[in-house]
Structure formats: structure tokens, C-alpha cells
Symmetry: D2
Subunit: 306 residues, 4 copies
């Protein structure tokens, strides 16, 4: 359970307070506000704030004075047009603020997306909790034999047990030592100086949980989701992306639908690949050998058109 | 008057609709929402949306689960501490969306601040209105004699009249020709092809008004305001910055107060200047000659400590 | 001719000086350095500096200690892989600095690409030259009848003449008045104050030329080129993009080739479009009506696969 | 010693090759190119490439055709003026590319500076080396008693020994288990599947070394250095900043000198602090009580003017 009773009480208190606003408001997001959606064994994502809705995308695109068109179908058509033609600036007019609890090795991937605002819990200033990500048995995957950065089937038997034992024991021991190092009382009960927190944290492994406030505009969020909700993304970040996809679907349903159609479910084909399609549609038999593609490209191409 | 009756009616309609929300809400901003604050002769700024408040800055800084501390004075102290020590990320957790109508030459300065989201009215797609900035007589300033990018006193008499006549006549003539070029009927009432709008716009001078939706986080907004609400900024952008300052004061009063104290009213002193202050406090007579500063620096230094 | 004899002499002097360097060096770019490639009637693009080459992309991708692999074919394969899978960070490791002279209305489109560094000639500080873009007759296009932001055929006869006359006369008159306003002597030869340059510039139309230093990394440059070398981009910015494409082809030939294949010549297909292709390859007769696409989408789809 | 003989040989080979270039070239940087400056116990910083020099800053500020002014003293004066008045864009026209080897907990601080390009060694794809940061005894600092994110005196005696033992033993054990988990042979010599590298890395503590290519423009680099070469920065990142400061001093000596005077050695004073200085210079006795500052601010103020 990722949240303590005190934290849940704080969240409940915040949810009980409502205000009157003239701003664009999305009931399904109001329902989500502040509540934690669990991800992995101790992580979560929760919506802290949002700005804009599907209409706000259209108003910005039209630079309108009021709501602009009243016709919902016009809005949907415009959003699909904007997405299809890579007009990204209207999508930047919506903003989402999340509170995320996640393992450090996931945070390190996540932060590569630089066009976002981040406030992370400081382990220089504060003490980290004893919470570590330990994979569920079916996610304890072997190294892929064909892909240097991929996974194979789940480990089995003795090997799986040993890995889990290593992960658990090393995490617990590292945390015990972390606590001993920063403590002002040693294990004999004698006073000691206590190591600086900014140094002691270096003993903690990358599966320890951290947390941050993360704020991003919709265009950059969709870019993040396209890369991280993708089948090639590491499972441990993909589950966060999947959870956020559900939030975005509630928040801006037209934009999300267009994103699914044109990005998540779409594919970018090269000039060579488009040429192969034309040849195939003309009845020509195209093989990897006469395609002009490398074996890798051909394999990827097959997975798209077959 | 910058707004048409239709536009005012659209704005009123939008203001009449209210929703219930759990999000951080600032009553003084609700009061401002959608209403246009006039700037210059045909321009305006209006708040379209906002995210966060003073508390949101603190919650992000603390990565808190609820509102964090309930003590308002703690929040103010924390905000002042963050501002003083250049901890910028918590301020990035607030976001403001504005609709701005402004002359093109002001827009060209404004857009240099790149860390913001912009959707500008498209003169490729649409037709611009016949609205031009003509300076009020007391803002029709002569070139400064001491500062290559500054202004002197207001022009007078015949010269002022001539300048205003040039500005008005050239604008009107340019717009007449713009209309004639894009029209599908020529001045004889005969059908003509009509020049592409994306070409015709090139005839319009830089005092024509454009408009955009502009969205920015509080940290980058304060950076913009520090440079553009400054006495050295061009008057025509400074009046926009001044109008936005009033909005920020309503929105995040603690942050704005800290900004006024540490940025707008503060000054950055060089190592040499700090050394001079120490010498002066020790009773030494410091002059430009023995200060280690150039004449320009010394003049700026005097304006700060005198 | 866009350059004065003095400017050409300055450029020649700079080209004559050579240094010894250990940095990645591209002979074809050395040949280009500082020389102006003419664009439009008074504009140009010239390379001021560059950082990196095709190998530098690979070294960054591999985080290598030296040149990494010596095999050129490995480098090409890696670059194609990176481009195909949207691994953008290695391309960010190359940087290009250009000096560009361009009409203001082109500059206003260009600057929307925010991830770049810009220093523009200051019309607050300096006096602009009397140089305006006047379209060549075959680029004096009519407004498209089917596309709100497109062009039709070139204007003809009397209408074309009139448009050119308007553009030329209004530009000359505006510049005459600009000069008169900033002058400290009026047309009678009497002393006058002279309007501040920061104000006088507002009288100048958007076809006046400005210039800037523009620095950008290769990833963001390719993104710019994909949008601006595209057939839907306005002609007047496309010619700049085309000129830069030639420079990039010289600079990083493998990266440029991959860019042409995967981006410029490629296309992103939606989930719906991919499904149609599968159906067509299975022998099904797919029409707009049973495709699941709107008419606009279907037209775009046809232009890709036919 | 941070580099293997093979790596040193690769670096030497790269240093031996020189080219002729017309680009701005800085002999002191040529001397540094590719060579590793050791930092901490296993880390380093080395210059991979640079673009521009002091003159390039001035050329961009002037948007010049050639070298611009030949007078070196003019260039220095201009650079100081630009730095003093926060004109940041000319400094963005210089670019530096570094290869850095650093502990993960330092990398996590470093990456918060988002306006840079980064390619990090991938522990999803590759296997990390057995290299961990173990503080030298005099950097094994106690937690500060007055500052939640600061350090006190070095630990002593038994406590210091114990901390070092924890850090060393936990790192070695974690790495042993990392190797065992990814191995396709278990400790009995039997074949096993081998855990995916992207999972196994989670067992490694934050003092393991990683490495990256980091590319940044001079303006953003100086901002990084101001924050990270500061006395309040954590020692382990400060030593990297200090090493980079020496490189920047060689690269752009005028800009670095101005940076030292106006930023590193300077201070930003609030309106209240400036008012206190004026009062003190007028002979008034100003104390914390009548200063209008909090105790914390007063303490900081004293450290600046005393």
C-alpha cells in the first residue's frame, strides 16, 4: 500500500474542499484529483492540477475571444487536423501537474524528457523511506537474446528465487546501513556525529522509491507517452505511461483519440517503405532482397503491414 | 476601444458560466478571468486560465501529499527563501495563460523569451484588422543622445505633427493596398484573382496589431517581467509588463512581493562593487578613479547606492 | 547583390585565415565557411561555424573514448537506426551556426522554432537598410481557392503590375519617411530632434530585410527542415530551408541521407490508414466511404500510396 | 586511475590527428582536447569539442560580417557590458561538448539543468563497470547541525571507519550480485537464463560511476557553474564545476573574467538590503532589528558587506 493513513487523510481533506471557478473544468478530472492510482508495488501517480480541455486547444488554435465554435463536431475535426499535420502549439496550451512516486531507475529514464517542470523530493535535505521496487515474479525477465536492450521470458525456479533474494537482501542491508550512518546514535547506543544525508544516500540502490511533482504541457506529454507507452519501452516505466494515458483519455478525449489513431497506433514509413507498398499494391512480389531495406528494417516493415 | 460588441458578448457569456472545482482557486483571478485590460491604443491583456497559487509553490517545494503546512506565515517565509536562493523549480509549478493584443514590433521583442507557449493569429490564413498603434503625443520620444537604444524628451510642434502624419497616412495607405491586393474585385469593380494572404501581409507596417495566446510558467514569467517592466525596456512593451505585474500581484501575492523585493527593487553587484561598499563602510573615500570600475559601471553603481 | 564590397572583403579576410585543430572537421563545410549563399532578392545564408560530423553522432551514441568504430559502414547503419527509432539525442551533439538575412515576415515564421539561439540585428540600436523583398513575377501567387493558407497560380497582367507597384511604392515611401523621422535635419535643412529609432521602425513594412545569427543543434535543425522544406511551407521560407538542406548534406551526409529517407520522403500513417493498406494488400477494394477516413484524410492518403 | 590503457591509446590517437580549419580556434583548448582531467576517485571531465571564442560572442552581438572590430579592448568592454546587463543571447553562441564520468548521485543533480544535450551510457544496453565513489576521509562529512542540506566537520575514528566499510562492502556485494544475476552461468558453473540488464542495474547503489556526453551553450554553462561552483553546492558536484571553470577560463578568458566579477564574486541584494546600505553609508546604525530583514537574511547580508 503506497500511502500512509496520514497521507490518505490529507488527500481526503483536500478533496473535500471545492471552489467555484470560471475556468475550463473537466468533471472526470475533478473526480480523479489528488487520488493516487497505484503503479508497481509502492508507486503511484496522482493528478494535482490541470489546465484546459479539448475546447481550450481549439480556442488557442483559433485565437478566439470566447469559446469559439459551439459545435462539438467542429472541435473534434479541428483537433484531428492539428494532430495529423503536426501543429503542436495548440496542444501546448493544456497543462497537467502530477505527483509521481517511482523507483530511482525509472526516474532516471523519465527525466530525459527535458521539456517539463520537476520538483523532486530531496535526499540531501530529507530522509528517504524504506521502500524498494521488487519485481513481481512474472516481470522478472531474462535478458533478450535478440535485442541488447530487451527482455526475454520470465526467469524460473532457483534462478528466480536467487535474484529476488539478492534484490531484497541487498536493499534491506543497504537501508540498514543508510540508517546507521545518518543516525546520531550508533548500534551500541553511543552518540556519534552522523554522516551527512547528502553522502549517506549514495549507498542506496536504484530500486529505492523517490517522488516528484511533474508538470508538462499536453504536446510534450503526448510525446512522452508515445515513447514510453510503446511496446519497446521498459516495462517499469510503461506502466506509469499506461496509467497516465487513462488520465489523458478522461481529460481531453478528442485529443487522446486522435493521438491513439495518429501516433500510438500509427507508424512512420520511410520513402523506401512507401515505395515498396506502392509496388506491392501494383501486384509486384517484394522481398527483403529487392526491397532496398536492411534485414532489420524489413522485419519492422513486415510487422507494420502484415 | 479594443473589443467589438460581439467579442464583449462572447466574453460575458464565458464569464457567466461557473463550475465547481477541487483545484487551487484564487478569487481575485476569477474576478479577472476573460476580461480585457486595455493597453496602448488598441491592445489588451486578458487572463484565459491560471494554474496554482502561492500554496502550490510550497507544496511542490515540499513534494507534499496535501496542502502541506497550514501556516500562512510559513508559506510566505518559504517563498521568500526560495526566491532569495534562486530555487526556481517550485515557481515553475504555476502557469498563466493570457490572450494579448499587441503591435507587431512589440510582439517581435516579446517572442525572444522562448520558454513559453504561443499561438498567434495567422495572417497566412486570416485577414488582419485595420488597427495600428499610433503613439500618444507624450510618448512620441526623440532619440536619446547618450544611449543608442534609449529615448529622449517628447518631440514637439511641427516635427511631432509630421511624424504622426507619416505614421497615420502610411498605415492607412498600406492597409488600403493590402485590402485591394487580397480582394477578388478590383477598384473598378472587375473580378481579379486576389493576392495570396501570406504575401499581401508583407505590405503591412510593424505597428499593426496582432494577437496571441501566450502561456508561461511563473518562473519564466517573472524573468520576463524583470526585463520588460524595467526602466530600460521600451515603453511600448513595458506597459504590457506593468499590466501583467498587477495580475501576478493578485494571483500569487507572496511570490510577487518577494519578486518586487529581491528582483525588481534589488540589484546585482559585482565583486568590485561589493569591495567598494566595504571600503566606503570602513570610511574610505572611493571615487571612480580608485574604484576599479569603468565610467559606465561607476555611474550605474552610484545610481544604486546613492 | 546582397553584400557590399566592404562586407565581401571582411568575409574574404576571414576565409584567408586558417588554424590547426584537433576537432572534427568537414572539408566541404570548410569550403562553405563564411561565404553567402544568395536566397530571394536580397537575402542569404552563410555558415559561421559548425560542431561535429557524422562520426560525432556515433561517438555520442556510444559514449566512446576515441573515434569509436573505424568502420564507416557501421556508422551509417547506426545513424539510420537512430533516425528510424527517433533516438534524437545523438543528433543533438552536432551544432550549426548560420548568419541569415531574411525578410521580417519570414523571420516571424522562423522564430516560432524556439529551440535555437538567436541574435538579431537591433532596430532599436541601429538603422535598418533600404532593402525590401519584392517577389519575382512567377512567385506573385494568387490566394488558393481550396486551401485557406495556400497559394494558387501566379497573378497576371494588370493585376500583377498593380501589386508590384503597391509593394515597391509603399516600401520606398515608408523608408523615406523612416529616414526623415530619425534624421536630425528636416527636409528644409533645419535641425530637428529626430524620432527614437525604436519608434521609427514601426513604420517599416514586413518585407524589409533583417538579419540574425542563428545557432541550432542538428536534431532541431532537421525538425525545422522537415516542416519548412515541405511543399506546404510558404515559398519564401522554403527557399531558405532548401539552401540549408544543401549545407546539411555536405556537413553530415549519412544523417542527411537518413533524414531524406525517413522524414522528408517518408510519411506517418494513422492506425486507420495502416489498416486500409492491409485490407488493400489482401485484395479488398477500399474506398473513402469504407475507409473510416474523412474526405481530407482520404485525399492525403491517396497522395501517399498512389 | 580512471582510464584504461586502451582508452588512453584511443585518446592519444585522436589527439595526434590535426586538421586545417577556418573556424574560430582557441590554442589553449586545442591543448586540452580529448585529455581527461581527473575528478574524484574514478571520475573525469574531458573536452570533446568547442564552438566559438570571445570574439564569436562579440560578432553575434554585433551581427557582423567578418571579425567585427579588431580591437581586443573593445571586445572585452563589450563582453563586460553584456554580462552586466544580462544580455544572454550572445553568450549562447558558444558551445562546449564534454565527456564526463561521474557518480550516479552527482549525475542526478546535474541533469536538473535541462537546457543541455545529454547522451548517457546505457545500463539497459551495456554492462556497468565495477567503479564506485568512496569519499576520501577528509570529505566524509557529518550532517550539518545548522543547515538541513549542509555538511559539518569530517567524521572521525571508529565512526569514519565504519562508514567507509559500509560503503565499500555494500558496493562490492551489490556489484557481485549484479554480475551473478546477469551472468548466463551461475556460481556452480551451470547455465542459467541471466536477468535482463535493464532490471539487474536496479541493485546498484548511487555511488556507482556512469558517464555521458554533455553539450551546452556558454550562457547555460555559466548558469550551471554559478550554482554548482558555489560554496553551498555539494562538494562532489562542486569539484566537477571547479574543473570546468578552469576549462572555460582557457576557452573564453574575457567572458570568464566578467563571469567571476559579476556572478561568482558578485551578489544580488534586495531592495531592503540596498536601503540598509544607503542608511549605513549615511552614518546610521543598522541592526537586524531595524533592518527589515529576517535573521537568516541579515546573516547572509552580513556575510556580503562585512
Amino acid at each position: 500500500m503506497p500511502l500512509s493513513p496520514e497521507q490518505l487523510a490529507e488527500i481526503d481533506a483536500q478533496r473535500e474542499t471545492t471552489f467555484s471557478t470560471r475556468r475550463a473544468t473537466v468533471p472526470a478530472m475533478e473526480e480523479r484529483l489528488y487520488q493516487a492510482t497505484p503503479v508497481l508495488d509502492h508507486g503511484f501517480v496522482r493528478v494535482i492540477d490541470y489546465m484546459g480541455d479539448d475546447s481550450a486547444i481549439c480556442q488557442a488554435a483559433r485565437v478566439s475571444y470566447g469559446k469559439g465554435t459551439k459545435s462539438v463536431s467542429n472541435d473534434e475535426g479541428l483537433i484531428r487536423y492539428l494532430m495529423r499535420h503536426w501543429h503542436s502549439t495548440p496542444f501546448e496550451m493544456c497543462e497537467l501537474k502530477l505527483h509521481v512516486k517511482l523507483p530511482v531507475f525509472v526516474a532516471r529514464q523519465w527525466i530525459r524528457h527535458r521539456t517539463a517542470n520537476v520538483n523532486e523530493y530531496s535526499a540531501r535535505y530529507s530522509i528517504l523511506d524504506r521502500e524498494f521496487y521488487i519485481p513481481a515474479p512474472d516481470h522478472l525477465a531474462a535478458q533478450s537474446e535478440v535485442n541488447n536492450q530487451g527482455r526475454g521470458a520470465a526467469l524460473e525456479g532457483e534462478e528466480a528465487d536467487r535474484v529476488l533474494r539478492f534484490l531484497r537482501d541487498d536493499a534491506m542491508r543497504a537501508y540498514d546501513h543508510y540508517e546507521e550512518m545518518i543516525s546520531t546514535t550508533n548500534s551500541e547506543g553511543e552518540a556519534q556525529q552522523g554522516l551527512a544525508r547528502e553522502l549517506a544516500r549514495m549507498n542506496l540502490p536504484a530500486n529505492i522509491y523517490t517522488q516528484w511533482y511533474w508538470k508538462v504541457d499536453l504536446h510534450n506529454l503526448l510525446h512522452f507517452l508515445r515513447l514510453r507507452a510503446d511496446a519497446h519501452a521498459q516495462y517499469e516505466i510503461r506502466v506509469y505511461a499506461d496509467a497516465i494515458c487513462e488520465m489523458v483519455r478522461d481529460w481531453v478525449p478528442f485529443a487522446y483519440q486522435a493521438f491513439e489513431d495518429y501516433r500510438l497506433g500509427g507508424a512512420t514509413l520511410s520513402a523506401t517503405a512507401l515505395d515498396c507498398i506502392k509496388r506491392m499494391l501494383n501486384g509486384e512480389k517484394v522481398t527483403q532482397e529487392n526491397s532496398g531495406m536492411s534485414k532489420g528494417e524489413w522485419r519492422e516493415f513486415q510487422s507494420i503491414v502484415k
